[in-house]
């Protein structure tokens, strides 16, 4: 039985598929950004680790990307435009926040993507594909919408593969699912 426990062990961290709408995020943490502006954007303080529902927002849009992925490269200007539209709308600014998780990307590689496309929101490395496995090994780019309740509970309101059909349509869907307008 000891063998069984050891051998069956590695399967525990595997997700069966992409996180479903209506469900919850798998249990993982990200490192609090060192950059003061990024920290302030996310409403985090101190250092160490945080969970996505701790971000000060009504909804967090998570982009699963890779700097090596041509579609993510092509989509980067659109995701930046999504950020700008949110920030320019007083009804949405501060309520919808964006983050990116670079799967299989080191901190250096995430930094390259950040600089190359002038990404205005925080990006986090997942160099060893650990988060990627937890998130059901989705293809990229993949977008997850996380609605956060006043009590810190959360629920997934969006979970979809691929580029935006249009930035406006995507934002509209997120806003409606978040009950923000």
């Amino acid at each position: 039985m000891v063998w069984g426990v050891i051998l069956c062990g590695p399967a525990a961290g595997l997700a069966a598929g992409p996180p479903p709408v209506g469900g919850q995020l798998p249990d993982f943490t990200l490192g609090v950004p060192k950059d003061a502006a990024e920290k302030s954007y996310l409403g985090l303080s101190g250092s160490g680790a945080f969970k996505i529902p701790q971000i000060r927002a009504k909804t967090v849009v998570v982009e699963i990307f890779s700097m090596y992925c041509p579609y993510c490269q092509r989509e980067a200007p659109n995701v930046n435009r999504l950020y700008e539209k949110i920030e320019a709308d007083p009804a949405l600014k501060g309520k919808i926040k964006l983050i990116g998780i670079g799967v299989g990307n080191s901190a250096f590689e995430v930094g390259v993507f950040h600089k190359r496309y002038g990404i205005p929101f925080p990006l986090f490395p997942d160099g060893d594909f650990v988060l990627h496995k937890l998130l059901g090994e989705v293809r990229t780019p993949y977008f997850i919408g996380v609605k956060i309740g006043p009590d810190g509970s959360h629920q997934l309101i969006h979970s979809r593969l691929g580029a935006f059909e249009s930035v406006e349509k995507f934002l509209d869907e997120i806003v409606k699912a978040s009950d923000l307008k």
């Binding site: 039985m1 063998w3 051998l7 069956c8 590695p10 090596y68 992925c69 579609y71 293809r139």
Partner: protein, 204 residues
């Protein structure tokens, strides 16, 4: 007996459960959709290098996807050269190595370096494959015929006819300054390569 059966079933179950985790996590871009052939895990290195750091890099002349013939010696005295051999088109790790290099042209420029991508695939295959990557700024060369001749000259042709996943950095004098015959299943770190180019820049 019952205990043994339980152990065996758990072993089989564990293998089945773990198998998806071993599936390659590379080439995840939706750009490739279902067109990537999963090679599974391969022998990390399956060749013996014939060149060494400090030696002069053997010259070659290969056809690029663009149609032009590119020789190594054309860069002598002008540019440092990074040669990126990748095993094969339409395979997991290779498909997301060059798109990464494609967005860091400035870093190559900063160290006065050019990148040459080489595989042993033929031109039509390389044409279709690299089209999925967007417009590449660097030449992609075909070492198809005589099959893998350049890879063989450098000692990076595997027994199965594919090239290794290998990076060579060659300075302006044509001297090999860095070699990374990488585990074929893994993508080399961009940071390490950029560190090597930085060394050339600083004349180290």
């Amino acid at each position: 007996m019952k205990k043994r059966l339980m152990i065996i079933s758990c072993l089989v179950g564990a293998v089945l459960l773990v198998m998806p985790a071993l599936r390659s996590a590379f080439a995840l871009s939706d750009a490739y959709k279902d067109n990537i052939y999963d090679t599974g895990s391969l022998k990390p290195v399956d060749s013996a290098l014939k060149v060494r750091i400090g030696e002069k890099a053997p010259d070659f002349r290969l056809q690029a996807v663009s149609g032009e013939k590119v020789s190594l010696s054309r860069y002598r005295g002008k540019k440092n050269v990074v040669i990126s051999f990748v095993p094969a088109a339409w395979t997991p790790v290779c498909s997301d190595q060059w798109p990464g290099y494609n967005i860091v042209r400035e870093m190559f420029d900063a160290s006065d370096s050019i990148l040459l991508g080489i595989t042993v695939d033929n031109i039509p295959t390389l044409f279709s494959w690299t089209n999925q990557m967007g417009n590449l700024w660097f030449p992609v060369l075909s070492d198809f015929w005589p099959h893998g001749a350049v890879a063989k000259k450098y000692g990076v042709l595997r027994a199965d006819g594919m090239a290794e996943r290998v990076l060579f950095v060659i300075d302006k004098k044509g001297i090999i300054r860095y070699i990374d015959v990488h585990d074929i299943n893994q993508r080399p770190s961009l940071e390490v390569l950029m560190g090597e180019l930085e060394k050339l820049k600083q004349g180290k």
